[in-house]
């Protein structure tokens, strides 16, 4: 049984948490930036929606999202290394891990957005069409504000998924808490480090969920 000094453990955890927060945080922002428009387009091009006639686009986006979601993350992580190198300038490290994380989470979030928008009463969209609203106005005055609580709940969901994906970032040297658990806990049989890491992860996910729920409650507060 390997043991480790408390100060060293604290150091490891601190670095790991920092790396995880960095990867998940940046990836979450990129995911929303990419996934939100994708989800909005998926919704708009679905049958009966304002762009319902562009069914070819819907089919294409659908295929992209489905492919993105069916690839196991570990495969994606390695498969996109050339893309990663192109975007991040390197294929190793925390920054490099952000690219595959985003590519994996964006289709997921797009689906969440699509479902959230489907829940917006069609009549409200139609009311704005009847007022002579443009497509842009429909999106930013009706769809997004009306679905905002669900969209935020979806971000919470996606961030938690990102935390679990980020555990595999070690494969490309991304570090983070998951990597710590694998390297120390699993490969070196260091139970202490593994348990401590898992505890930090639990607290982290718990905190993310609580923050998200609080935001949703605030947004849905008076409507």
């Amino acid at each position: 049984m390997n043991t480790i000094a408390p100060s060293e453990l604290a150091d490891l955890l601190l670095t790991g948490t920092g790396e995880t927060l960095y990867m998940v945080g940046v990836a979450a922002v990129c995911t929303v930036v990419l996934g939100l428009p994708l989800g909005v387009l998926l919704f708009l091009t679905s049958e009966g929606a304002p762009l319902g006639r562009a069914s070819w686009l819907h089919a294409a986006l659908n295929a992209v999202v489905n492919v993105g979601r069916s690839l196991p993350f570990i495969i994606l992580l390695i498969a996109v290394i050339p893309v990663t190198r192109l975007i991040a300038g390197t294929s190793l490290g925390s920054t490099a891990a952000i690219v595959p994380l985003t590519l994996a989470a964006a289709p997921f979030y797009a689906r969440v957005v699509q479902v959230a928008l489907l829940e917006v009463d069609r009549g409200r969209i139609e009311a704005v069409v009847a007022m002579g609203g443009t497509l842009g106005q429909i999106v930013h005055k009706v769809l997004l504000p009306e679905a905002l609580p669900s969209l935020v709940a979806g971000v919470t969901l996606t961030v938690v998924v990102l935390v679990s994906f980020s555990a595999m970032a070690g494969v490309v040297g991304g570090g983070g808490l998951g990597d710590l658990a694998v390297r120390y806990g699993y490969e070196r049989f260091n139970t202490e480090v593994m348990l401590a890491t898992v505890a930090v992860l639990i607290v982290l996910v718990q905190a993310i969920q609580m923050l998200g729920d609080w935001l949703v409650r605030r947004l849905a507060h008076r409507r």
Binding site: A127, V129, M131, G132, P145
Partner: protein, 329 residues
């Protein structure tokens, strides 16, 4: 103001084609309240949605203010739609916005208003629909009647000249229905807004419409000003606008059902019937109401005689001469 010509709307193709509207034509004058009455499934909703092209007609023309909407490009249509307000059975207010925010929406869409001007217009509309003090409430905090008031204010916000009402009072209780109808009449008279409404409730047509059409199976069966309709003995719509149905008559002499479109003209004949024909007249049921400014009514009377009963056609002829429509039982 509004001219609909040969409007046809079908769904599906070939053998599965369903005809929702078939050769519908009518005209609505500026300042009228035009009611389209029909049972559910008659195509009312499709018809009113064709008036602002929420439904694309399969054939025919829809002219509003002289502009044929069917021929417009998408941007031109958007501009025209800004002048056509619409209210809905389920209100369709945005839950993310307050009362004031919902009313401001058409102004934001129209663009070109500075904020202060927009706020002034919103305050004005809140005053018109009587929602003072509720401007910062969210739709979920309002009653159905209040929500529809917001709907009306929103529909009028961009200085609409036409208001389309899709079963606007259908989801409301009797009091709210009455107050929303009163509001519609008020905006019609004060602002000169032309209103087209669809409904399955006779009462709505009776209480506010100046003209009406009867729609059945996607066709207009009859149409006209309310005053003409009630005055025409052959009009089904006119007949249905007269006061209520009668209970089964008791077994007492000859029973006559009378209908009249002008109570003042008809009542001398009815009251003098007893003396003129030496009979006893018993009033069994009936009512008189004000419809389109006319006192219209429906009565059921029993005529008996101590001696020899007068021939029914004599009674009928006497009453008809007085301006009533008579059907002996």
């Amino acid at each position: 103001m509004i001219l609909v010509e040969g409007l046809r709307k079908t769904y599906g193709r070939g053998a599965r084609e369903v005809v929702a509207l078939d050769d519908v034509s009518f005209e609505v004058q500026q300042g009228e309240i035009f009611g389209i009455l029909g049972p559910s499934g008659a195509g009312k909703s499709t018809l009113i949605r064709c008036l602002n092209l929420l439904e694309q007609p399969s054939a025919g023309r829809v002219l509003i203010g002289g502009v044929d909407l069917v021929s417009l490009s998408a941007p031109e249509l958007r501009l025209q739609r800004r002048k056509i307000g619409m209210i809905f059975q389920h209100f369709h207010l945005l839950h993310s916005r307050t009362v004031a925010g919902n009313i401001a929406l058409p102004l934001e869409i129209q663009g070109g208003h500075v904020r202060a001007k927009r706020d002034r217009r919103v305050a004005e509309l809140i005053d018109i629909v009587g929602l003072n003090g509720r401007e910062h409430a969210f739709p979920s905090q309002l009653s159905g009647g209040q929500k529809q008031r917001v709907g009306v204010a929103r529909a009028l916000a961009a200085d609409s000249t036409v208001l389309l009402s899709d079963e606007a009072t259908c989801a409301l209780d009797a009091d709210s229905t009455a107050s929303v109808l009163e509001l519609l009449r008020d905006v019609n008279q004060r602002l000169g807004v032309t209103i087209v409404l669809i409904t399955h409730e006779l009462n709505v047509v009776k209480s506010i419409c100046t003209s009406a059409a009867l729609l059945e199976h996607g066709r207009i069966i009859e149409k006209g000003s309310l005053s003409e309709l009630v005055a025409s003995p052959d009009s089904r719509l006119g007949r249905s606008l007269l006061p209520g149905d009668f209970p089964a008559p008791p077994n007492a002499g000859q029973i006559f059902d009378l209908e009249f479109a002008d109570a003042e003209a008809a009542s001398p004949a009815i009251t003098s019937l007893a003396g003129a024909l030496n009979v006893k007249v018993q009033l069994l049921a009936g009512g008189i109401e004000l419809v389109a400014g006319r006192r219209v009514g429906r009565l059921q009377i029993a005529v008996t005689s101590v001696h020899q009963p007068p021939p029914p056609d004599l009674v009928a002829r006497f009453l008809r001469a007085g301006g009533a429509w008579v059907s002996p039982r």
